[in-house]
């Protein structure tokens, strides 16, 4: 059982911030944060969100995620010579390769 003095783990802070915890647990965590003067950690998450999205905007991240989804996963210990992980443009990609100038 967590004590009021126990630091709220980052894992639970994230889930609290996402609004995914049961009401009783969320209330208990907020009380712990208040008791420890750490309510700022919740607002710090929002600031961190904005900072990360500014540095790594969806327009830069999402295309790479979509590219990787189209490529089969590579098993590190037994690499498949036909896998298209690191190569680009991926031959199995539905996307056309870029037209180089």
């Amino acid at each position: 059982m967590a004590r009021a003095t126990d630091k709220v783990p980052d894992w639970l802070l994230e889930r609290l911030s996402a609004g995914e915890l049961a009401h009783a647990q969320a209330t208990e965590l907020r009380q712990r944060l208040r008791a420890q003067g750490e309510e700022y950690r919740l607002s710090a998450l929002s600031a961190s969100d904005a900072e990360i999205l500014s540095a790594l905007p969806p327009g830069r991240i999402v295309p790479e995620i979509e590219r990787r989804v189209l490529c089969p996963p590579i098993v590190p210990d037994r690499p498949d010579p036909t896998a298209c992980g690191p190569c680009w443009p991926c031959p199995r990609s539905r996307r056309a390769p870029p037209a180089w100038p």
Binding site: R15, D49, I52, L53, I61, V69
Partner: protein, 163 residues
């Protein structure tokens, strides 16, 4: 589970990156792992429960990062792996040799154990969740969590002797 990847990344990407940063302690590797977390989600979207996406993403990020740390340890140039060292020994490694030894111990410690046991160990020993909190996160009973951790502790002396 329907996934609009762009809005999903906007709402949860930063959280995933923070989790990867915490476990990998390397910005470039964390960003790379974050991509793979969303790839995992997209690949398994038809079988996923959408009721708690943050929990799902945090769990997936933990698995992705632990797998990366494990595969890196198998390479000759063993990296600084303080986080996993904590799982097994509750202490700070003093040099590269002790870290390599800790890596070997952990590989043997977790070999043959359910994948979820690694997550349980990380949540309890690294993230400092209580047994009750871990039980709630992974959907097991407190006694189940206690049993898994006890099994790990019981294996530790034998594994340490072999390493």
């Amino acid at each position: 589970m329907a996934v609009d990847i762009e809005s999903f990344y906007r709402s949860h990407g930063p959280m995933v990156l923070r989790r990867c940063r915490r476990l990998l302690r390397d910005e470039a590797k964390a960003v790379d792992a974050m991509h793979d977390v969303f790839v995992e989600i997209l690949r398994r979207k038809d079988s996923l429960d959408a009721s708690s996406p943050a929990g799902l993403l945090l769990t997936t990020a933990t698995h992705v990062c632990l797998n990366r740390l494990r595969s890196e340890r198998r390479k000759p140039e063993d990296r600084d792996d303080e986080m996993l060292f904590h799982i097994g020994r509750h202490g700070k490694p003093t040099n590269a040799e002790s870290r390599t030894l800790a890596g070997r111990i952990l590989d043997r410690l977790f070999s043959g154990q359910p994948e979820s046991t690694r997550l349980i160990a990380v949540l309890h020993y690294v993230d400092r969740l209580t047994l009750e909190e871990v039980a709630s996160e992974v959907g097991l009973s407190v006694s189940g969590i206690r049993k898994r951790l006890r099994t790990l502790k019981e294996r530790l002396p034998a594994v340490t002797g072999e390493a």
